[in-house]
């Protein structure tokens, strides 16, 4: 009963925030509405006893990422109502609506036929035993089963950092004299 009430309240908060993000004329308001959605999802995670996810949701998404959004919005000076009209492509909205309907139909099909579409296997990573705390399970799978993936993300981050540096650098025009000389 309590679960249902929590879910309904959070769902309303999430959806209100989500609609607000796209409906608000002011980008700053949109970003703040996003925080609302993210908080609602964090509470839903707690209701599912995924405490770590809830904490990460608040710290990383609601904290860091939305703050970053706000920085960008304010630094670029688009914190006033901007023309966000779409319409470069004709029929874009119709097509988007069509795809949304198809996607919803697939999800709806899977939900309605849940007994015949799911295989019923349990996850093999970080198996819940109702004794070990969630965070411990996560730590164990992160540093055991997924330790290689965990370490590899550092390679991915190095690639991203180099890419950001390379792409944001200023470029002098081609020095044709020395180019000719070197050939």
């Amino acid at each position: 009963m309590v679960d249902t009430i929590v879910f309904v309240i959070c769902a309303v908060i999430c959806l209100t925030g989500a609609i607000g993000v796209i409906a608000a004329r002011n980008p700053v308001h949109s970003a703040l509405m996003l925080v609302m959605t993210l908080f609602g999802i964090a509470v839903l995670f707690i209701a599912q006893e995924a405490h770590f996810l809830a904490a990460v949701q608040v710290i990383v998404y609601a904290g860091a990422i939305v703050v970053l959004f706000l920085f960008v919005i304010m630094l670029l000076g688009v914190d006033v109502a901007t023309d966000l009209e779409l319409g470069k492509l004709r029929g874009q909205k119709t097509a988007a609506a069509g795809f949304a309907v198809v996607a919803l139909a697939v999800v709806g099909y899977l939900i309605v036929n849940v007994d015949t579409t799911r295989t019923g296997v349990q996850s093999q990573g970080g198996v819940i035993d109702n004794v070990t705390p969630n965070v411990d399970l996560l730590a164990e799978s992160l540093f055991d089963q997924y330790v290689y993936a965990f370490e590899l993300t550092s390679v991915l981050l190095v690639v991203a950092v180099i890419g950001a540096v390379v792409l944001s650098r200023r470029h002098p025009p081609l020095d044709t004299d020395s180019a000719e000389a070197s050939n």
Binding site: T119, V159, L167
Partner: protein, 500 residues
């Protein structure tokens, strides 16, 4: 306190030797970046290239030791079953390292001419090679995805590194947006497969299909996931109808990078496809082989028809690269060991042909495009380069006594053995159609009527010339005596070993 709570925790056992090639490459990339940024004087560009080539060769030597170990002790897996140590990993490690070394050498002279940032180029090249090797050796879908992202993100940046050409910016933007979409498709596919089978580990996924045996039902979720993963990988290997990025990106990117995309990145995509579909999903092969067969047929036709209508040599090579993906898919859809080793042979030989081709293109291309008419009379201006380019083009056309012929032969034979005759016939017809395009470039090069007296001198830097000659020699040698490579490819069929 927290540590005390987990005092019984023991990390997975790690076999360091098979991981050493990747580690060497990562360390080399970091050394290049550190030395060039901390050094008070400007470090010569040759330093970056030397470190890249040196580390590539060193990693290759280590890979050869690992290969000997595998032959003695059989395949294994390490780091909690996340990394597969088998002939397949080694095969693609060596393929990637060859592409890395060749691209680094070709890129060296290109960077000098275009005054690009050499240390960043080398570092990205090394780290994308790590991504490709990780993709080929991954036994876990999460690891595979991270390898894919390291490879893709590095390539997006490398495509854009020629800042003074607007085509490069356009290419990088297109590649980035479409590539991000395809990565998302792939990741969503992984999530659904995980939901259906309960694991991201390929060994466990294969084991799941073994336990359910023939009573396969309730697999809708799995099928959707499988289809999404196929879309993601088909994009990476530029198979039609997911190839639309390829011509623009290959045309706009720096030529050495285009060659690298067509070789290492394509091979890594196929490595992932083979390991996932041929090995982990082998029990459901009746479900995915028809899809891959249709995909390969479309890819072959699109690659051929579009290639012969182009006038820009880089676009021709791009569509020909689409067509070659079609041939490899013919071998993949066979879902047999012979088919897989045919695909491996094809990818290995194609690597040298395409890197050599783009190396020649990088010599000829300046700011005014790559129209086929620029190649007129090349044979009299630079005979050796013209001979090498002719070898590459004949090889890609599948002419006997080049490695391309052996590759096409093995691929078509795998389709015949699998009794998919229509696809085998289609592959042969298509190879005749594409031959027109290759011969058109060749006849341009060897045209005697063209006056080359007032053509500008074409300078051939030493490193690029070296790569072109070596690639041409490899193409001919494996066309005449392919046996050693065929055996290597046969020993490199992927296997799955559960983690200890």
């Amino acid at each position: 306190m927290i540590l005390a709570q987990l005092s019984n925790f023991e990390g997975p056992s790690i076999d360091w030797l098979p991981l050493t090639p990747q580690i060497i490459l990562v360390v080399a990339a970091l050394v290049i970046l550190l030395v060039t940024s901390l050094s008070p004087a400007k470090v010569s560009d040759s330093f970056s290239t030397a470190v890249t080539v040196g580390s590539g060769v060193a990693a290759g030597v280590v890979a050869w030791f690992v290969w000997n170990d595998i032959r003695d002790e059989g395949p294994s897996s390490t780091v909690a079953g996340a990394v597969g140590v088998d002939g397949f990993s080694i095969f693609f490690t060596i393929l990637t390292l060859s592409a890395l070394v060749a691209t680094s050498l070709v890129g060296h002279s290109y960077i000098k001419r275009e005054q690009m940032a050499a240390p960043e180029f080398s570092a990205l090249l090394l780290l994308t090679a790590v991504g490709a090797i990780v993709m080929a050796s991954a036994n876990d879908l999460i690891v595979l995805f991270i390898g894919l992202e390291a490879l893709s993100i590095g390539l997006y940046v490398m495509a854009a590194m020629q800042f003074r050409r607007r085509e490069a910016q356009e290419a990088a933007m297109k590649y980035f947006v479409l590539g991000a979409f395809s990565s998302a498709f792939f990741l969503y596919g992984i999530a659904l497969v995980y939901g259906a089978t309960g694991s991201t580990n390929l060994v466990n996924i294969a084991a799941y299909f073994n336990t359910i045996g023939s009573r396969i039902n309730n697999l809708e979720l799995f099928y959707v996931g499988m289809a999404l993963m196929l879309v993601g990988l088909a994009f990476k290997v530029a198979a039609a109808p997911f190839h639309f990025w390829a011509p623009d990106v290959y045309q706009g990117s720096p030529s050495p990078v285009s060659g690298y995309m067509a070789s290492a990145a394509k091979a890594a995509g196929f490595a992932a496809m083979l390991r996932i579909f041929f090995v982990a999903f082998s029990r459901t092969s009746a479900d995915w082989t028809p899809i891959v067969a249709v995909l390969s047929a479309i890819t072959l036709i699109v690659g051929a028809v579009m290639a012969i209508t182009q006038n820009d040599v880089k676009r021709m090579l791009a569509f020909s690269s689409v067509g070659h993906a079609g041939y490899v898919l013919v071998a993949v859809q066979a879902a047999t060991s012979d088919g897989t080793s045919a695909a491996l042979f094809y990818l290995f030989t194609y690597t040298f042909m395409v890197i050599g081709s783009f190396a020649v293109v990088s010599l000829l291309g300046w700011n005014d495009g790559h129209d086929v008419s620029r190649y007129e009379g090349l044979a009299r201006r630079r005979p050796l380069i013209a001979v090498a380019f002719t070898v590459f083009l004949l090889g890609q056309a599948g002419v006997p006594f080049t490695s391309g012929f052996v590759g096409k032969f093995l691929v078509i034979r795998s389709a015949v053995d699998d009794e998919i005759y229509w696809l085998a016939v289609l592959a042969m017809v298509v190879s005749v159609i594409t031959a027109f395009m290759y011969l058109r470039i060749i006849s341009n090069m060897w045209d005697r009527e063209v006056d080359v007296a007032d053509a500008p001198r074409l300078s051939v830097p030493l490193t690029t010339g070296f790569v072109v000659v070596v690639c041409a020699m490899i193409t001919v040698v494996y066309g005449v005596i392919p046996q050693s490579l065929i055996e290597f490819a046969r020993d490199a069929v992927p296997v799955l070993v559960a983690g200890g």
